[in-house]
Amino acid sequence: MRRYLLRRVILFFPTLLGLLTFVFLLGRALPGDPVDLMLGENAAPEARTSLRKALRLDEPMLDQYGGYLGDLARGRLGVSLRTGRSVSTELAEAFPRTGELGLAALFMACCAALPMGLAAARRPGGRVDRAVRTFTTAGLSLPSFFLGPLLLLAFAVLWPVLPVSGADEPGSLILPAVTLAVPLAAVMTRVLRASLLTESGKDYLQTARMKGLSDGRVFRTHALPNALLPPLTVLGLQVGAVLTGAILAERIFRWPGMGTLVVTAIKSRDYPVVQGAVLAFALVALLSSLAADLLYAWADPRVRYE
C-alpha cells in the first residue's frame, strides 16, 4: 500500500513540472514579440522596456525559466496587465466562485445519478432502464452552452422563480450548477449502471438472495458498495471537465468566476492572468485525478498489489 501511494504521489511531480514547462514555453516559443502582442506596436518605448523587464524577457532563456519557477514556488504569478492587480489576488477572488459552482454541480449529479443508476440496473431493458438511457444519451449530447440558454429562457419567461444572471441573489447558483450537473449525472449514471450490472452476476449476491434477502436489499447493501468504485473514479476524472464546463456556463449566466476571468484575459491579451488561470485549472485537475487514484487504492485492496 505504502509503495503504491508513494509511487503515485511521486509521479505527480514530473507531470506538474512538465505542465509548468509547457505553459512557460508556450508563452515564449511562439512567433512575434510578446511585448508587441500585449501593448500593441505603437506603445511608448519606456512602457515597452519596463514591461520587458517585468516579464524578464531581457534575460537569457534559462534564467527566465529559473526565475519563473522560483516565482511560482513563492506564489508570485505576476501582475495583471488589464487591472494592475496581482494575478494571485484575481485568482483568489474568482476561484472560490467557480469552486462553489463545481461543488454544487458535483453534489447535484451524485444525488441524481445514485437513484437513477440503481433503478436502471434493477431491471435492465425495462421501462425505467429505457427512460434512464434516454436521459443519459440526451444529457451527453446536449452541450452545456445549449442547455444553459434553454434553462435561462424557461426560468426567465415561463417560470420566473430563480435568478438567471449574475451571482448576487441567493438562488443564483442553482441554474449554472444544474447546467453543469446534467452531463455529469449522465456519465455517472451510465457508469454506475454498468458497474452494478457487472456486480449483480457475482456469486456473493446469489448467496445473499438465497439467505432470503429481498432484491432491493441485496442491491443496496451488498452490490452498491462494491459497485461504487468505478463511478467514484469517474467523478475524480470528471472534475477537470466540470471546471472547463464552468467556463462555458459562467459565460451564459454571467457568473464572475474563473471562466469569466480567463476569457476576459484572453480577449485583452492579459497573458499573466491567462497563464495563472491555466495553471490553476491544471493543478486542480491533476490533484483530483491523484485523489481519485488514491481513493481507488484505499477502497480496493487489489489495486495496491499489482
Binding site: 514530473p14 507531470t15 512538465g18 505542465l19 509547457f22 505553459v23 508556450l26 508563452g27 511562439l30 444519451t137 440526451a138 451527453l140 449530447s141 446536449l142 452541450p143 452552452f145 445549449f146 444553459g148 440558454p149 434553454l150 435561462l152 429562457l153 426567465a156 419567461v157 472534475v239 477537470g240 471537465a241 471546471l243 472547463t244 464546463g245 467556463i247 462555458l248 459565460r251 451564459i252 480567463v262 476569457v263 484575459a265 484572453i266 480577449k267 497573458y271 491567462v274 491555466v278 485549472f281 491544471a282 485537475a285 491533476l286 485525478s289
Partner: protein, 266 residues
Amino acid sequence: MNEAARTRLAWGFLALWTACALLAPLLAPAPYAATDLSARLQGPSWRHPLGTDDLGRDVMSRILFGGRVSLSVTGLSLALALVIGTGVGLLSGYLGGLADLVTGRLVDILLALPGILLAITLVAYVGRGFAPLVLALSCTAWVGYARVARSLALSLREREFVTASRAAGAGTLHIVWRHLLPQAVPVLAAQAAAGAAGVLLSEAGLSFLGLGVQPPQPSWGEMLAAGCDVLLEAPHLALVPGALIFSAVWALNVIGEDLPGQIAAE
C-alpha cells in the same frame, strides 16, 4: 425509437448538414456578412426565412455558412489529429526506448489538461482564426489516438510477420507503413468515429467563447453566443444554432457508438 431508426436518423442529420454546408453558396438567400440596421432582430419572413440577427444579417445564410465552418473545422482537425496521433503512436511504440519515453511523458502532460482547456490555452497564445482553431483542436485530440496506436504497435511488433519482415531487411518506416498501419486503421477509425462528436463540441465551445474563427465569418457556436445576449427579445437566434449543434453532436454520438461495432465485425 428502435436502434435502426435511430442510426438512420443520425446518418440523415449528418448527410443533411453536410449537404447544406457544401451547397451553402447556392442555398444562402443573402451574403452572410451583409448588415442592415433597419432590419434588426426580425422574425421569420419570406425574405429572411429564419429572421435577422442584431445587426440585421440574414440568419439562414449565417447558419448555412456557419455549418460550413463548424463541419470543416471538425473534419480537418479530426483528420490532422488522426495522422499525427497514428504516426507518433506507431513510431514510438515500435521504436520503444527514449523516443517512447519522451512521447509518453508528453502525452501524459497533455492528458492532464482537462477537456478544451488545452485548446483554449493554445488559442490564447496563437490567436483566433480558422488555422489556429484547427491547430488547437488537433493538438488536443491527437493524444488519444497516439495512446491507442502506441499500444497496438507494442503488441504487433512482437508478432511473427513483423520479425520476418525485419529479418528480410525492411527498415522502420517500411514496417510501420506496410505492416503496422493496415492493422491499426480499423481500430483508429472506430476511435475517430467515437471522438468526432467531442471535436465538434470543442469547436462549438471555443466559438461560443469568442475564440473561434474571426468575425464576421459565422459559426454555430458564435451565433449561439450572440443569440444568448438577446435571448429574451429574439430567442430563435440562440435556439436555432443550439438545436443544430445538438443534432449534429447527437448524430455523431449515435454513429460513433454504432460504427466501431460494424468496423470490428468486418
